[in-house]
């Protein structure tokens, strides 16, 4: 993935908005090195992970045929675990960190799959315990960010793994069959219900048809799921505790400002099979369901068991910024992404010092300004400005200069239409440029 400058700019603006959203809730930035010790990276993984890892070696080490000591990170979770374990005594718990960095996976290049791509994670890590209120904070952060990004309507779906586990237990599903059942539950909404029930009765899972059907009734029925689940009788403690958590997380998130309609309890949300232990999240753009979940995560019991004896429970969420970028680049908002507010054209080379002064005045006022210094004809200069999507051109020839005037051309109007041109007094230029730009981004 390599972007042209306007795309890179749009991507960067998106990342800035996300970062601001994280900081608004008190999260702090962390960056870790691109490579970790191979032993650290591969601690908890099987051979599948190793196949995806890129190892890093100097030419000297390759010649000596040594086993590679270093490897490129394949996610941001393992480096976070190592970071928290290593710096445990210098961190302030609950530790709220965000990390936006590239990760590397040694797969063959495919469409939509990159060897190098960004991940964008937040996590709150507690020491020994972590209050449930943080589970409510995650969707509130996401709500703030996606509202500001203005990619259109979106819905945050939440569920609770404890509730699912308790529910399956009470349906008599053995622990070693739970993963298989959840795998089928995950298909709800993507596959007809009868088909799922049939699969639940298949050899892999082996649920009785009536139990499978009743399970579907509980998971997938109209009406408020909390009410439906609350009315179930003789459920075990795990279920009750999960239900209570789900209720409190929803209440907490609404107290933090999420409109209830945008926070939907969806009992088919499962996420990764063994990592998450409580609350789980997924997020969808209402008008682009094909993107899949653009923001997912959940609660886990212990972050860094491989690296420290401390118990470090956490809750986190990850924004799929590569997916979002592909969406952003297709949206009309992308066409207007620009960083340079104005260009001062070179009408008369004798006035170059005056052009430099104009640019300096505008920059001092917080605007981003280009000065055209080549000796190309004015038509070529306008072409350059247009190709760069710069909204305003400042035009001052000898006549204007003698009259203490400057012309401003608005290049946002089409080239065919008569371009809007304003003539202003030289000392009113900065104010007029700001007025024309409307409210420019704060610098």
């Amino acid at each position: 993935m390599e972007l042209l400058p306007p795309q890179q700019l749009a991507f960067q603006r998106m990342l800035d908005t996300i970062r601001r959203g994280f900081e608004r809730f008190g999260f702090l930035p962390v960056e870790t090195p691109a490579f970790e010790l191979s032993d650290v990276l591969l601690t908890k993984s099987g051979g599948e992970t190793e196949k995806q890892v890129y190892f890093v070696q100097s030419s000297g080490a390759i010649k000596e045929g040594k086993a590679p000591e270093l490897a490129l990170r394949f996610d941001l979770t393992v480096p976070l675990a190592r970071y928290v374990a290593q710096h445990e005594h210098q961190l302030n718990f609950p530790f709220k960190r965000y990390q936006i960095q590239r990760v590397y996976r040694g797969e063959r290049n495919q469409k939509g799959r990159y060897r190098e791509f960004y991940q964008c994670d937040i996590d709150v890590i507690g020491k020994d315990t972590l209050p449930l209120a943080y589970d409510a904070e995650c969707p509130a952060i996401i709500h703030g960010i996606f509202t500001e990004l203005a990619f259109g309507a979106f819905t945050i779906k939440i569920n609770n793994r404890k509730l699912l586990r308790g529910l399956l237990q009470s349906f008599g599903v053995a622990d070693d069959k739970q993963a298989a059942v959840l795998h089928e539950v995950d298909r709800l909404g993507k596959m007809p219900r009868e088909e799922i029930i049939a699969r639940l009765g298949g050899a892999d899972v082996g649920m009785e048809a009536t139990a499978a059907s009743r399970l579907m009734d509980v998971l997938d029925a109209p009406g408020d799921p909390l009410e439906r689940l609350g009315s179930l009788r003789e459920m075990n403690d795990v279920f009750q505790s999960g239900l209570d958590e789900l209720r409190r997380v929803r209440e907490g998130a609404i107290a933090l400002g999420i409109p209830p309609a945008q926070l939907v309890i969806d009992l088919s949300i499962v996420r990764g099979l063994d990592y998450y232990t409580g609350t789980v999240y997924e997020t969808f753009l209402d008008d682009v369901p094909s993107l899949g979940s653009i923001c997912s995560g959940g609660r886990y019991d212990n972050l860094a068991g491989h690296y420290t004896k401390s118990k470090l429970p956490g809750v986190g969420i990850s924004i799929g910024i590569t997916r979002l970028l592909s969406h952003l680049l297709e949206s009309p908002a992308f066409a207007s992404v620009t960083t340079t507010h104005a260009i001062v054209l070179n009408v008369d080379a004798q006035l170059s010092t005056e052009y430099a002064k104009i640019a300096t005045e505008l920059r001092t006022a917080g605007l981003n300004v280009e000065v055209f210094v080549g000796d190309q004809k004015l038509g070529k200069q306008f072409q350059f400005a247009d190709k760069s999507k710069i909204p305003l051109a400042i035009v001052m020839g000898g006549n204007e200069h003698n009259a203490g005037q400057v012309k401003i051309k608005d290049l946002r109007t089409s080239m065919d239409a008569a371009q809007k041109e304003t003539s202003v007094a030289r000392d009113a230029l900065v104010g007029e440029v700001k007025r024309l730009l409307g409210e420019p981004r704060s610098p």
Copy 2:
């Protein structure tokens, strides 16, 4: 190099300021992948570069014993050359790009030398030609950035390689001895003049003692170097052209707002021996000369001769942000770096919904706010806030709530001194917090 969150935050604020400074002059962001094809990276290098390069391989490729196809970039110049050559027809020339990314060098770890560190480059690339005015823009950008960074007084030194080359030619220095002479010239100000003259007369260089002494008179004398150089008789065209460029670059930079005292012509500035062909720059913090040049660069004739037939002259400058970070972390400014403006304390768990509302109001007003949700005693909560360097704590117990009041504690005053406490009406909270913070960073 791995930073704790407050350090990372300070570093990030520094990078944001630098980025803003680049965009103010119309530069656009570029990011390239961490790895390039090994063949591309090693095109123009000898064995020395290869020794420093980190190669990247999947475990499968290592087993097969293949030569590594990919390697991590060791600077941002080679990737820029490849990028411009590859995307030449989609770029708008003159192409102004900035790039702030990590680079990788397979050296043994030493103090101050990292295997992975940031580089921060800007370059303007022309097609066929590039006006000299861009040589004047580079120091103006640097001046804007370092003024905003407020690291103290600084001086930008400029020189011109053409001028040096013409000067040495007119002193009868053979082309193959120029590098050796320039190497000695570079010692001016770091070594007594007599010693340099002696070295110029040594076997390596072999200049006559009188010529060496006259050369020192020209390069290193009090007074305006432009005047001194202008008064020299019978100089060749290369010299005259370099002198003219140096004069015009200084004038142009001053027109762009650099105070003349901060832009010093220093004829001992040489920079890399074969890369730069015209203007060269170095920048020093006046009070921390031991940091060395924190910002260097210059003009070159052709960026990407290895990758395209187009002639792409350029001028660029690179900020030494790793050096600056070490300086930043020692400065008093670092202690006050914070991103979270206020924390809402958990005085009474019954009021948690009210605390969430307060936080949401403050966040909506653009402030970064933490809510303490654990059930620790108030003393512990203040400790957390203090350790996190959060300036203000919002305290509301049942009594305050009933009276429609909130207390704000200013934690910036010392813990020993009586902490400043303000009581305000609940609906005046946001305004009062903003007032206490003075002018908060724009969000």
